[in-house]
């Protein structure tokens, strides 16, 4: 008997991915929670024999036996519907940025709009399992990390903690993402002819994912230069991270720090010194792959961190969090 899991925003790229993973999950099954008033027929994405579809109301969800929902929705929708599900006794894993920052003021500063459910911020657990799985276990509201921050934080936090980063010099995170990271919607900017055979930078130094990176990596804003860039591909994030290591550091030292941190982690893979991942290594997986290049005499260091933005960067990590809060093996459905 499968446990029904509700998915709001099941037409978006993260939602479709989540429904796909749930379809292969040994313990869960997905129920599509229809949130749009104007929803027409869209058989092309949801075929016969697929999951049930009901209205996205807490009552309907409870009646359907749903114990947890994934919100693959924009932050304003997540802020709007989360409370209702929680009050109905339904756990929430929110994939938007609604509950990732700690205060309504920080949210407003970076997202340029008011937070409409600020009282839930304190309760939300930031669901980066490699660091927060203990807290997540008992939570009823998980804020699933952003795609860029997931790749950045898994690479940066052990380095900063180990004192391997010269903070006076600072850290550069040159990030590149596939277009699905922008969501499923009609915009000229993301139309095929504008994207193909192109490459473009956006939100340079000002991307709304920056504060999330600062919170987990423990860097200050002045120490981090972050650039988001669009690759003409569907899915994948690769971040090229530059910093200065202390004199005498070897690439083996850095690899050791990573291996010590992630030896028991099922979804973080560390490459041998001198090797770095590409996007094919992580496509359609929940892995984060990390590799290191160091010029020891000068301390110039480059770390490459790669994830699938719809996997570890969104739906995959959301299922990982769902496994945690529902008491299942963290890897169920994900390997």
């Amino acid at each position: 008997m499968s446990i029904p899991i509700g998915v709001v925003g099941f037409r978006g790229y993260s939602g479709v991915e989540a429904v796909g993973i749930l379809g292969r999950h040994p313990a869960f099954e997905s129920v599509l929670l229809e949130h749009r008033q104007d929803a027409g027929d869209d058989l092309k994405l949801v075929r016969k024999g697929g999951p049930r579809r009901i209205t996205a109301s807490p009552d309907a969800a409870r009646a359907a036996g749903i114990e947890a929902v994934l919100l693959a929705t924009p932050p304003e929708v997540s802020m709007d519907v989360t409370r209702g599900f929680l009050e109905a006794g339904i756990k929430v894993v929110d994939l938007s940025g609604a509950f990732r920052l700690r205060t309504a003021a920080t949210y407003k500063h970076w997202y340029k709009e008011e937070h409409t459910a600020p009282d839930l911020l304190a309760e939300a657990v930031y669901g980066l399992p490699e660091y927060n799985r203990g807290q997540a276990k008992g939570a009823r509201l998980i804020s699933n990390p952003g795609c860029y921050p997931t790749a950045a934080n898994l690479a940066l936090r052990p380095l900063v903690t180990a004192g391997l980063v010269d903070r006076a010099v600072g850290v550069i995170c040159d990030a590149k993402s596939g277009v699905s990271g922008a969501g499923r919607k009609a915009t000229l900017k993301n139309s095929f002819c504008e994207v193909t055979e192109n490459f473009s930078a956006y939100s340079i130094l000002r991307h709304r994912h920056v504060p999330e990176i600062l919170l987990t990596s423990n860097l200050f804003e002045a120490e981090l230069s972050f650039t988001a860039q669009l690759i003409p591909i569907d899915r994948g994030i690769l971040e090229t991270i530059y910093f200065r290591a202390p004199k005498g550091t070897t690439s083996a030292d850095i690899v050791s720090v990573y291996q010590a941190q992630y030896a028991e982690e099922p979804f973080v893979r560390i490459y041998e010194a001198g090797n770095v991942p590409d996007l094919h290594a992580v496509a359609h997986t929940n892995f984060c792959d990390i590799g290191v290049i160091l010029d020891a005499p000068t301390g110039r260091a480059v770390v490459v961190s790669a994830i699938d933005n719809l996997g570890k960067g969104a739906a995959g990590q959301a299922i990982q969090n769902l496994n945690i809060i529902m008491g299942f093996d963290e890897t169920a459905g994900l390997l």
Copy 2:
């Protein structure tokens, strides 16, 4: 001293292409005719040192010394503005489908909307120079052919005329186009993630370009099966055309028919028997390349016809027509 040529719809893919060709043209220069009321700043497409920009009114155009305009606009806009330019003594090359069919009724049947300038249909010359350049010379209104029909008609008309097509069996035209053929606009269907790693058929047997193919190829609708399909590329049209040749026909016979028809044509290239073009052969050119494969014993014949949909399929052919009506060498700016 360059002759100023107005371009309406200069932000669209055909318009940008036309402005680019005019920039390399020995006798013309482009003037951007602003038609949109809501036009903001769009420096990214039109840079300093580039062409002048004025309002798209016949008076402003005449004041700027413009003798001819290219309309790279949707049919409803072309139907709306053509009369004004003509009455101001300005010649018009229209790239839309507004004036390609012969009657308002046929237009309504295929375009599903009323024709708002039906009296201009009789005057418009269908600008496929390989067949109509004589008529085009004195015209003041040229209807530039559609992209699919250009590739289809240059391949089909000589075959039908020469009696090489078994009309009882009929003709299949399996057509594939790059995404720029759909125009520059925000639609979910043409967004990057929906198109990349995909291939899709649309308007099967019902595409609005069908009547244009029938008119020039002299086939009846019942004799032609036409399918339009989207390739995940920016530009290019390749049509794979199937028919049955009479017993005894050789591939050399078919190639000879083409060579006889197009020997003097600067923009039609015929391949040796057994060879067919790909899209790279015609990218960023005004050529139409045609090749033939025949299984002589059975008469099964395959013709491949390739163009750049923004070149010979739109802006290139429009400049070719402009050269004709303005009395210049037909190839000026195009080789």
Copy 3:
């Protein structure tokens, strides 16, 4: 306890796909059978925690407890190694074209080389489960169908059988494939810059998959025009099939024939009349999706058939066949 399944050719695209499916299979696990003498290190494809790797000899395979092998190899390799595995009591599912035709002479005619194991041709069962699963059940050698023929035959055979195809007019199969269908190897023709922004036809009327289509569809060569074409994508096959239906036929009639044939088939999906699949509908699945467009007054019919060339067109169908010969549910690991 998982049953070990050997995979020869595990570095190729079909091999990688097969290893991936086996990794999610409830009853099997893969063992990599190393066939290349010059095999270097290739950690990027085969990571730690992944499958065992042993030499591709029948003895080693038997020692490893392997009961069946998948050959994701070129036909010359498959002809070379099949007998050894069979004699060692190991069942073989061959993904190459080595055993798909009935005689060595036909093989030589289409593949342009001698067949080196002609005595095995009679024994090999052509593994299109929708038609041959009965025969396949007891077989020790399954010849996995080609990618193009799978999409063509599932669409064509019911139509031909039902007499819905005017054979005097013939059938056109305009086929398009992603580049992974050409295998994993270094060729200029398949290098990125030659393929991207391109579209090209090859082996027109002469593709080696033609005889396979004829055998299953029951068409004669003179009745079928088949063109293979390269789409600039990784994976997917879409075939646009044209024929003339008898007077009085409706599209509902054709859909009914398909539904009658495939009602119980887990991997064939029929679309409502007037709708056709695109490649995203079948990507990363074992489905074959089929849709029909008909112009009833003239009988002009278009069928679109779509598969993932690495799924139902290769590795997916191979696992389906493996499930059959090993006595498991045919869908295990594939939904």
Copy 4:
């Protein structure tokens, strides 16, 4: 009457591009110099009506009236043939890395092979016209800059010269290139399926273009971290450059430095502060576009520099150099 210009390596991507530009040049025409012994027929790239083809010998070139040649060849070929052309009185613009560094030892260090014509190094003029056009005017051997260094140096040199870069913190140059930068050859790494939907870094901190950047930018190796990365596109280079600006610097200050340096340059375009180029802005042009983002309070600065790697990064700049050494307007054929 056109002046014949020889092109060696006319089948490669830079060679094809050079032949294309020469075809539109008002004063030059190209002559294909056949260097390969095994050259077969390759009509697809060189069509009838196109340029003459002769043997790539200095004698044949002189007999054909050739005054200058472009070498679009690998460095080992360029080192091999340059002397012969020079001795025949024929000027050489070499697009390879053969003559870009100052000593044979530096060449060996970065290119990992012996320099076979070290005596020509002193004579070769590094053809970055924005800095060296004076020297280039009288030269008989021009070493055309590398693609990555062209984008990097045009952006970096004015900043370093103006003291706007905190050299203690150093400079990060995160560079991305289309696949044509790797040349036209059959490699598995550059085959379509390996590149599409991928993004990968290579030669991190060790790319052979690094010394060229150091020479012109006046940075030391310890001050520069350079990463080369492959975008799944045909053409284009975008470099995201990070540095720390002195306290009190504004983005307007940086833009002013660029404008002062490049005000009269026909091929360098500076964006208004806060705007950066993408690759579509420079595709199929000889432009280098540069934009600046600065966080004034912290001095964190990001410069984006974009070129077409086959334009300003190779063939375009080679024609610009050819214009210089042949005494023509530097922009002839390039606008």
